[in-house]
C-alpha cells in the first residue's frame, strides 16, 4: 500500500469503537431464578433407591458373616 490513511487518534478510536459496538439493552427481560433452581437440581447427585438397598445388603452380610471380609480383601 502506498497511501497511508490519516490518523484516527485515541478519541477517534473510542468514537469508532462506540459506533461499532453500540449500547446494549441492559434490562433483564426475564426472571432467571427458575434456571438457577434447575441448575441446583441438576448438580445434586441422586442415588437410586436400589443402590442404597445394595449397600445395606452388603453391610448386613459383612456384619452377619465377618469371616468373608478377609476373602473379599484378598479378591481386591
Amino acid at each position: 500500500m502506498t497511501d497511508k490513511m490519516t490518523h484516527p487518534d485515541e478519541q477517534e478510536l473510542r468514537a469508532f469503537l462506540k459506533r461499532e459496538f453500540p449500547p446494549v439493552v441492559t434490562e433483564l427481560q426475564r426472571d432467571l431464578w427458575p434456571r438457577i433452581l434447575r441448575r441446583l437440581d441438576a448438580k445434586t447427585p441422586r442415588v437410586p433407591w436400589f443402590d442404597w438397598a445394595l449397600v445395606a445388603a452388603v453391610a448386613a452380610m459383612l456384619l452377619l458373616f465377618p469371616s468373608v471380609i478377609p476373602a473379599l480383601l484378598y479378591q481386591l
Binding site: M1, D3, M5, P8, I36
Partner: protein, 176 residues
C-alpha cells in the same frame, strides 16, 4: 441471623432473596462486557451458581456482596471471552483509500471491529469497559481485582495493539 449470614450458612431462601436483589445488576454488568443478551443471561446464571458454590468463603461480617458478585460476574465474562475469542485473520493488504471516502471509512471500521475482537480477552475486557462503556478505572479495577494503575496500563496496551494492527494494514493510527 441476617440475610448474608443465612446465605453463607447455605439457606436457599436467603440465596433466592439475594439473587432477586442482584440479578438485574449482575446481568447489566455482564451484558455490557459480552454484548450479547443470550450469553449474558447464561453468564448471570453461571455467576450465581459460582456464588452459591462459594458461599462458605463469603464472610458476611466484612464482605460486600455486591462487589463480590460483580467480581465473580467479571471472571465469568472473562472466561466467556476466552472461549469465544475471534481467531479470524485480518487481510494482508487493503486497497488504498482516503479518509473522506465513506467506503474506506466503513472498511476501517470493519477492520477495527475485528481487531478489537481479536484482542487478548483480559485487554478486551478492560478496553470494552473503559473505551466503549466509559466506566471509571476504579470501578473496573474493583471488578477485575487489579489496581486502577494496572487498568490504565491494560487500556493503554489495548489501544497500542489496535494501532499496531491497523498500522500493519496500512492505516496510520497515532496517539495524541
Amino acid at each position: 441471623m441476617d440475610l448474608l449470614e443465612r446465605f453463607a450458612a447455605g439457606d436457599l431462601d436467603a440465596f433466592e432473596a439475594l439473587f432477586r436483589q442482584h440479578q438485574r445488576e449482575v446481568y447489566a454488568w455482564t451484558v455490557r462486557i459480552v454484548r450479547d443478551t443470550g450469553a449474558a443471561e447464561d453468564l448471570t446464571v453461571e455467576t450465581f451458581w459460582r456464588i452459591y458454590r462459594a458461599r462458605q468463603r463469603f464472610d458476611p461480617a466484612v464482605g460486600n456482596f455486591r462487589a463480590w458478585a460483580r467480581r465473580i460476574a467479571t471472571n465469568a465474562a472473562l472466561d466467556h471471552l476466552r472461549h469465544t475469542r475471534k481467531e479470524t485473520e485480518l487481510p494482508e493488504d487493503l486497497p488504498d483509500a482516503h479518509r473522506d471516502d465513506p467506503a474506506a471509512e466503513g472498511e476501517l471500521r470493519g477492520h477495527l471491529r475485528r481487531a478489537f475482537l481479536e484482542l487478548p480477552p483480559k485487554y478486551r475486557l478492560v478496553a470494552t469497559l473503559a473505551l466503549i462503556e466509559d466506566e471509571p478505572y476504579e470501578e473496573i479495577a474493583g471488578a477485575v481485582g487489579i489496581s486502577p494503575a494496572l487498568v490504565k496500563v491494560r487500556v493503554f496496551r489495548a489501544v497500542r495493539m489496535l494501532r499496531r494492527k491497523l498500522n500493519s494494514l496500512g492505516w496510520e493510527v497515532t496517539a495524541k
